[in-house]
Amino acid sequence: MDNMTSTGNSTPLPAMPSFRQVIRRVQRLPPTFLIGSVVLIFYLILALTGRYWAPYNATKTGTGPPFSPISAKHWFGTDQLGRDIFSRIVLGTDDVLFLSLSGTLIAMILGVPLGLISGLVRGWFDEVFMRILDVIISIPLLILALLVIAAAGSQLSGNSFLLIGVIAVVYAPRIARMARAVALNLVTSDFVTVARLRGESTLWIILHELAPNATGVILVEFGVRAGYAPILIGSLGFLGFGVRPPTPEWGVMISENRIGIVTSPVTVIAPALALALLVIGLNLFTDGMARILGRSTNQNP
């Protein structure tokens, strides 16, 4: 069986490209992809290294007077309790990245295989499955998230795992429906018919015919979903159902600092911009990825 690889569809390693070739290749990438990558790398660095150089502890109160304006000491001012906004933004990065990506990933792991199989086997399983998905999807995203949080009750409120679970539960049905559509589309293609006429097993067809063609769409879907996840987390935080205070979270910060918007607008604007820039970065990255893969990002979120 080890001979399989020599003739299989595994891509052989290309020869090491020269530095100039690398530059040329990078230049040819879509600009959105490049800008998106830069933004994402910036956030990754914040998330990974922030704790070592952030000027203050995120939860330390009284680092300055309440709602103090921008200064060399407090780049983005302080909040009502005198906590340093800049430090809180930097130290809130890892949470939002971790929650968004892991929640979306779990949703993909649940949704993609179910959707692909449902689209491939069709029949009663598919119909029942789709009905259930339709029902869940007919509850708007944020409302469903709130319903799940309400069901989880007060003990779990503010727990990171609850938030990951909420993202997974809310996303999985939508992802499953996308995967099913992809499978349905591919299943009717001639090359799958050829494989079926050869008597290939369902597993072989999924692995060798469907999967390589579906990865592009699925990657783009992951990007689109992951791009919306910080918004969802922020929204829940803003409404008071997010990460438990005093853990720094941008949505909570916007909500808390709104009372100081007149005296020190930066305390609201800064976390808002941090959130928006992250989402822009994710969206640009996904857009670029979609362009590289030849897809459109404007599919149903």
């Binding site: 009905r131 339709d134 029902v135 869940i136 007919s138 509850i139 708007p140 995203l141 944020l142 409302i143 709130l146 319903l147 799940v148 949080i149 309400a150 069901a151 989880a152 009750g153 007060s154 791009g227 918004i231 922020g234 929204s235 803003f238 409404l239 008071g240 159902f241 949505g251 916007i254 909500s255 709104r258 918007i261 007149v262 607008p265 609201v268 604007i269 808002a272 959130l275 928006a276 820039l277 989402v279 822009i280 969206n283 640009l284 459109s296 404007n298 149903n300 979120p301």
Partner: protein
């Protein structure tokens, strides 16, 4: 033929709604386990919990409880609030009205803005104006409604106080004043709905503009304006109608946040409050109403698509 199609859709919508109600009931009342302990807190006395259980019929079997609940809803009775003992309907009524008002105003703003910007972007594709609109929509997409709302609030209510900080619609004395109160929250909602729809409609329009029948219309000697108004827009808008359902989801999600930002007394803020207070009957009622609005608005969009598309109208 189309009548039958609409009828099937209607039945399907009702069935979906029924299953949604089961889902909501199950999530709100069964999933959490002992609601009494949840609502009253762990320190509550056993006696208090018993009284509470009786009030919510928690001593009966689940199916029976669902039956009682659903039966009540069909009669227009959503039960009583656990917090203030008022009838849920009385609480919801005015809130629902407020939310519908703001939703409709936002929707009325959304349509012209979307069509105008999408057409501009598509007709001047790859020119500066297209890039600019694309950038605007990208920023809009990346800004949650509570961020854009807060920023609007800061600029137009705090920095330049044209509009009120709190959208206390119930205090409005004249329709004009009401409109002033509604402006900021409605614009926020409009933005959140438009950004996605503009991108979608632009893509649709470009696809149509690249189509052979547009080229033919050009080559028939028609003016560009006629070609766009008569051939491109109608053919691009019909498929884009489906986006409306998506936008309703944004609208409904957005309402919750926007009402919070502007302290607007609508269904959304009621839902948030009732979750914080664990007011189960109110939670159930609001989610069910929201879901049914969504489902039937979707149905409406579907039916409109069917009626407007000659392919579906004439088999």
């Amino acid at each position: 033929m189309i009548g039958k199609l609409i009828f099937t859709r209607l039945i399907l919508a009702v069935v979906t709604l029924l299953v949604v109600s089961i889902l909501i009931f199950w999530t709100a009342e069964v999933l959490p386990g002992d609601i009494a302990a949840r609502v009253l807190g762990r320190e509550s006395t056993a006696q208090a919990r018993e009284v509470f259980r009786a009030k919510l019929h928690l001593d009966r079997p689940i199916i029976q409880r669902y039956g009682i609940w659903l039966g009540g809803i069909i009669r227009g009775d959503f039960g009583q609030s656990l917090v203030n003992d008022r009838k849920v309907v009385d609480t919801i009524g005015p809130r629902l009205k407020n939310t519908l008002i703001i939703g409709l105003v936002a929707f009325a703003l959304y349509l012209p803005v979307t069509i105008l910007l999408a057409s501009l972007a598509a007709v001047y594709r790859d020119r500066p104006i297209d890039s600019f609109i694309s950038l605007l929509t990208l920023i809009g997409l990346s800004m949650p409604e509570f961020v854009s709302g807060t920023i609007l609030l800061f600029f137009f209510a705090v920095a330049i106080p044209i509009f009120p900080v709190m959208a206390l619609i119930d205090n409005a004395k004249s329709p004009l004043e009401a409109l002033r109160i509604l402006a900021l929250p409605a614009i926020t909602l409009m933005i959140i709905m438009s950004v996605y729809a503009i991108r979608m409609l632009r893509d649709n329009l470009i696809e149509v503009l690249d189509s052979e029948y547009i080229r033919m219309a050009d080559l028939k000697g028609m003016s560009r304006r006629q070609v766009i108004l008569r051939h491109a827009l109608p053919n691009a808008i019909i498929p884009a109608l489906n986006v409306t359902s998506l936008n309703l989801a944004y609208l409904i999600g957005g309402v919750v946040l926007v009402e919070r930002v502007f302290s607007y007394p609508g269904l959304g803020s009621l839902l948030v409050d009732s979750i914080l207070l664990r007011d189960v009957p109110v939670i159930e009622a609001v989610t069910l109403i929201v879901a049914s609005i969504y489902i039937f608005a979707n149905l409406f969009a579907d039916v409109m698509t069917m009626i407007l598309n000659p392919r579906l109208r004439y088999g």
